[in-house]
Amino acid sequence: MSSSIETLRRMANDIARNFEAMGHGDAVMATADHIKKFWDPRMRQMIFDDDHAKLDRTAREAIEHLQAGGNPQAQTRATKFNLVDEVGRSDAG
């Protein structure tokens, strides 16, 4: 059974691996963007405080970018949400 931090590391690495096809630089930003939009603050803090050497390269750089205060723009349409008066952009499951 994985502990919470092991789960978070796995999740961060999975996200990064699936963005790899975008090229390294974009993958780092897309991973950071994803984590900023979908992870709650405690999860983010846990991974900031963790030993970053346990993460794959892209995930590590994304985490460090966020930890340094980075706030990436939407890197894919998945993280582009409706503005207050906009319609569409549903991500209903």
């Binding site: 999975d14 503005l83 549903s90 209903a92 499951g93």
Partner: protein
Amino acid sequence: MGYERQKDFGTPESRSTDKVTLTIDGRTVTVPAGTSVMRAASESGGKIPKLCATDNMAAFGSCRMCLVEIEGAKGTPASCTTPVAEGMVVHTQTPRLERLRRGVMELYISDHPLDCLTCSANNDCELQEEAANVGLRDVRYGYEGDNHLALATDHSNPYFDFDPSKCIVCSRCVRACNEVQGTFALTVDGRGFASMISAGQDDDNFLSSECVSCGACVQACPTATLREKSVKAIGLPERAVVTTCAYCGVGCTFRAEMRGEQLVRMIPWKDGKANRGHSCVKGRFAYGYANHKDRILNPMLRDSIDQPWRIVTWEEALSYTADKLNEIKAKHGPRALGGITSSRCTDEETYLVQKLVRGVFGTNNVDTCARVCHSPTGYGLKTTFGTSAGTQDFDSVMDADVMMVIGANPTDAHPVFASRMKRRLRQGAKLIVIDPRRIDLVRTPHIEAACHLPVRPGTNVAVLTSLAHVIVTEGLVNEAFVRERCDWDEFQDWARFVSDERHSPEFLEPVTGVPAADLRAAARLYATGGNGAIYYGLGVTEHSQGSSAVIAIANLAMATGNIGRPGVGVNPLRGQNNVQGSCDMGSFPHELPGYRHISDDDVRTSFEKDWGVELDPEPGLRINNMLDAACDGAFRAIYIQGEDILQSDPNTQHVAAGLKAMELVIVHDLFLNETANYAHVFLPGSTFLEKDGTFINAERRIQPVRKVMEPAAGYADWEVTQLLANAMGANWNYTHPSEIIDEIARLTPTFAGFNWEKLLEIGSVQWPVNEQFPEGSPVMHVNGFVRGKGKFVVTEYIPTDEKTGPRYPLLLTTGRILTQYNVGAQTRRTGNVVWHEEDLLEMHPSDAENRGLKSGDYARLASRTGETTLRVLVTDRVAPGVVYTTFHHPSTQANVVTTEYSDWATNCPEYKVTAVQVTPSNGPSEWQQVYAERSDRSRRIASDEAMEPAE
């Protein structure tokens, strides 16, 4: 005027746009070309007698009651089989017709019981009606001849009886089973006087036959031959209210036929846009759970989960709960609280739960069961198309030429829609099935899939990429479409990627298990066969690359130009009756209603102003993250409405650990479900018959849910949520769900035109409904993608971390069946138990033989997460190396073996890929026995009276 059946026009509507004018009994009538004379008469205020005709089936022309005289035509043609012609002059009543009809009726009645007054069809019988209409006064043949009156009734089906003594062999039931349902279970056995309706072979009754109990034959039967047991027991209904089914994402609409506050039966509503007058066994018959003895009607409390429950008043339950929540919030902060909205409850109820969590608890820790089913659809389609809203409506399937069904089993999970698919397939459309199992749709009466690709669980993205490889390298791309509607540069990057040799079907065959030739054939068929529509389900989403698979599907549809018109599209078969609605209402932790991120200041401000509170700007926890945080002690209280996470979520032991670690678990449900084993507060819920509100189905169609009886526990679910909010200090004062709808419309542009009165008037509307689309929008992306160009996204195949090995050499995949619905909370408490009493493990003969197992044997199913025991069913529907089971019974606990792996983007659990080993066993595993004991103990309810000794 008492109870009235919905009008039956006799034969189906014609879709032609040409008009024809004729004269019927002196009335001038104009109807579409192709309409039958019978229907034309019916549409213009007349009524030609009929017995074998009904308007959801093609005309049959056997009963000879509907004869008419047409000027210039010989004899007396049947009006059901005669199409209208320009200038035709029809007489529906003449002395000759009168004699002929009476003669036919005499023959029918000479072999029919005369017990009208005590028959369950009295006043609801077409034979009785037509005998009256044709003026039958006596039967000159007498009643002493041979007859069928002594035939015994077949009571085998739990919901309806078949009484052949009353049958007039009109064949409506047979045709309903053929044309409407597509199961072909019934036939007319014998000829002439010996004709009898038969459900199968000589020794078959309805239960043992292939009948799926959809009720289409019962609805079609004009006499009491096929009749609901509930009508026999109760009597005829007095009124009917149109409402929406609370089972699956098709969203069938029914007439709830009532006598007082008692539900007599549910009849499919012919004008239902989703179901068009058809139903399945669940919506039609399985509503008995609402009155089941397990239903809890009082709030209950307990201080710890080892104690029995204590029945309390609503006031005590709510004030205890509110105090405890406030206490935990004060001590640990608002982010220690959270909630789960229900995809079975109405939109208004879901909206209130997320309002409670955000506005009263003060956190965004709210989530819904879409997490575990179609959340990858949301992510994947939004990435490629800009929105995850389903692109088509269900009717669109009738224009498809090629259907590709991936990871879905529609005949079991979306039966009413599957009947429509089958109808189109019987008309000649082609079928491709991509599924590890040979699902029923692959080979079913009059239908055979052109290709079945038995993909190895976990390799979807590889298969989809190799389909793309074939389409690109063989020049089958619809370049005009791509240039016009998609980003061309991204397309080229993607095309280059998929064209690589390592994505060819031949190269990937050892990985996917799909023969290259079959895969190439499937790709060519989809790309060149005409309108290509993809229908997919949880076999695509419940994987560690679920979102990537959805993206890959969208790529295929874009590359072949199969978007933006009827008959094509990417169609996720959404599961729950209101999962679409619950997402639309902002149930996800990262967004407010209307798909707007919580961190957006403008959005948040608009809600803060309306709600009068400050909102947390940070995303909250998803369900699986809530459980992790609970184990860490950071998440301590949860309000769960209408969901059973202990049975439905993966890795049961981890879910149990998470729930156990929480200080306060509030379960708001109809029954003491598995999650309630770990609950401290139980709030009794209400069924879909006990409240007004709306559901939104997979077509984005908003449909009304009507209250036909008072809530058995005293309050509808939305009222309970309001009471809890107010007990915590909020000041809500909704008096009816229409007021909640007004608030939703005020705050959400997608629903700006949403209004309860208007909805009741028009019946249903597909969102977006606002100034731009006042009547809603059936098909999306008609002139281009609604949010800019379609984007091709490269999806690299990344094998799941869940690998088979010597210890766990088989792959387990899971699914559902027709008669049980998900965790079975409702269906296990109805007559449906007669069909699926236990979950079985389907296993290929070679795997079974290697282990010395045969059908019916107990087997131990183990993964590195846990183990359980269940009985085996040996079948070649699964490939060697793959086993399959369902998750309907808590005693089996199938989720004890599923893993903590999930989709990279949405955390949708990887239910479909678990490495397992199967070995013979003597009986239930230790975990199951312990669990069963604990469940029983946890369900004890303390009674008020002290127990006296027996002496």
